[in-house]
Structure formats: C-alpha cells, structure tokens
Symmetry: none
Subunit: 154 residues, 2 copies
Amino acid sequence: MKFIIRNRSILLYGASLAVLLLIMKWLEWRLVVLDHAFELYAGAIALMFMALGIWLSRKLTQPKTNTIIVEKEVVVEAGDFILNEAELSRLGLTSREMEVLQSIADGLSNQQIAERLFLSLNTIKTHSSKLFEKLEVQRRTQAVEKARKLKIIP
Amino acid sequence: MKFIIRNRSILLYGASLAVLLLIMKWLEWRLVVLDHAFELYAGAIALMFMALGIWLSRKLTQPKTNTIIVEKEVVVEAGDFILNEAELSRLGLTSREMEVLQSIADGLSNQQIAERLFLSLNTIKTHSSKLFEKLEVQRRTQAVEKARKLKIIP
DNA sequence: ATTAAATTCATACTAAAGTATGAGGCAAAA
DNA sequence: TTTTGCCTCATACTTTAGTATGAATTTAAT
C-alpha cells in the first residue's frame, strides 16, 4: 500500500502508457479502414504526450523558491560600551580602585564590597576615598555618574 | 526586437512545430519505403512532444513561489533612551519621587537636592525613603542601578 | 638593592544617608 | 463632605559613607 502511494507518479505514468498503447492499436486498426486518418493519429499522440509531459513536469519538478529577505529590526541590548582606555590611564586608577568602582556602581554598600573582595571595611573606605580623589568627586553616586560619562564603566 | 524577446517562448514553440512537421513529412515518406517502421514513428512523436510538454511547462508556468523569510538582524543604535512607562506606572512613583530619583542619579547629595527643589533636607529624606521602598532597595546607588535597569531613567 | 607605588588595615572622627514616626496642608475623588 | 493620596516638614535616632592619618607589607621597576 505504501509502495503504491510512494510511487504513484510512476504507476500513473505506466498506466497512461498502457492506455495510450491500446488507443494506438485501436487507431492502427482504424487506419486500415480509413486510409488518410494518419495525420489525425499523429496529432493525437502528440497532444497526449505533450499533456503527459506537462503533467510530469508539474509533478516532478521541485517548486521554484523565491527567497525573500525580510529585515527584522532587533534591538541589541547594551552592545555599545567601549571602554575609554585613554581616560582610564589618564586618571591612573589602580585595579583595586576599579574593582571598588564597579562594585559601587552595582549598588553595593562598603560592607558588601568588603565581603565580595575579602577585605576589611576600612580598606574599602581607603580605596573609595582615593578613587573619589582621582575622579575629583565627593560621593559614590557622583563617582558612578562621572565614570559612566567617561565610559570607564558600562 | 522587443517583440521577439518578449514572445520568445511562443516563437520557439512555433519553430519547433514547424521542424516537427518537416520531420513528420520526412518520416511519412520513409514509411512508404519501410513498411513497418510505424511504431518507431509514433514513439518518436511521443517522445518529442513529451519533451516539448515538459519544456513548455517549465517555461510558461508561473513559478510556484515558496516564500522563504530570512530574518536579518539589524543593529539598532541602543543609544536613545525609551522610557519604560509600564514599569513606571506599575511602581507608582510620584512626580516628586521621580525628581528626587533623577537628582540622585545625577550624583547630588540630599542637601543639594533640597536646594535644587527648594525643599528641606528632611523632605528629601522622606521622598528618598519612600522611593527606596517602592523600588525595593536599601541605598541610593542601588536605586539608580535598578531604575536604570528598568529603563525609568536614562 | 633600593625606591616608588600599590595594597592592606587600623583608629578616630565628621558628614551624610537612611529609618521611624507623626503631623499639617491641599487637592481630587468617592 | 469625607476620604484618600500626595507633599511638606520636623524630631530623634541608627547606620553607612567619607576623611585624615599612620603604618606594615607586597610588588614592580630602576
């Protein structure tokens, strides 16, 4: 059953050939009687096979694919941060100061920063104080603001 | 000239018909000589017209278009800030709280905010306290961080 | 090896931030 | 009209942030 479904096209083709041969034989017999019906016969064959060709072509050729490219806008989140290395080196921030700055920007308290970096609260205070000096600010919020403006942090 | 190009298919069709008729006539003459070459003749016609049918079908049928949509990512400059009004209304921040939040994000101290908005320091403290409650944060730096994440402030 | 910068931490202090609570005024909604 | 939410401000208090100073240790460079 599956074989029939899968090879339907080929079976149909065979069947049409068989039918056509029958018609041909019949026409052949007619040809003996009617002497000049030959052109009609040839035309019939031509027509049928052309039809068969068209049908085959339609069935067997894979459909043409028109590839349509649709541009879809995708907002890329926060991909535009480029570290301003010039400013960073100009300010002369040390690595620890940068870590503290980043943690401050993340909204952590000095105590939390100390825990995160395994340091004492006083050390964090020292670092942040020096950081503020270098950034020429008075408060952590200002530091974050300025650092963001200078493209030192995202 | 344009006519030729545009109706090339039809002209080709006509030409092949003419050629075929010539071949047929020639074969007809051959038939008188060779008596039983009839089946071969019919087969030739069948073959040719089937080929013609296939060719015609390919040329003349409009292509079946399988539209393949290819999504192309277009990077949109994420530089412009779009206020997340849904979040803003969900949080229920009052206008004063928003002003204070903005000032905090600008790196101002409570005292400076009070001066900017012509209010007392205590009022600013009250506003910021309520603001922190609504934003579910403990510190002003956290408030700025969260507000930025929620697209409430640029 | 010596210098210089960076890191760590401490103490002591001041300043600012944040919490809790209450209260008066005001405008819009029920 | 009463209620409700917002704005304002105050007092009192706790917590966190920030400054100043000094010192020991580590690390990198001269």
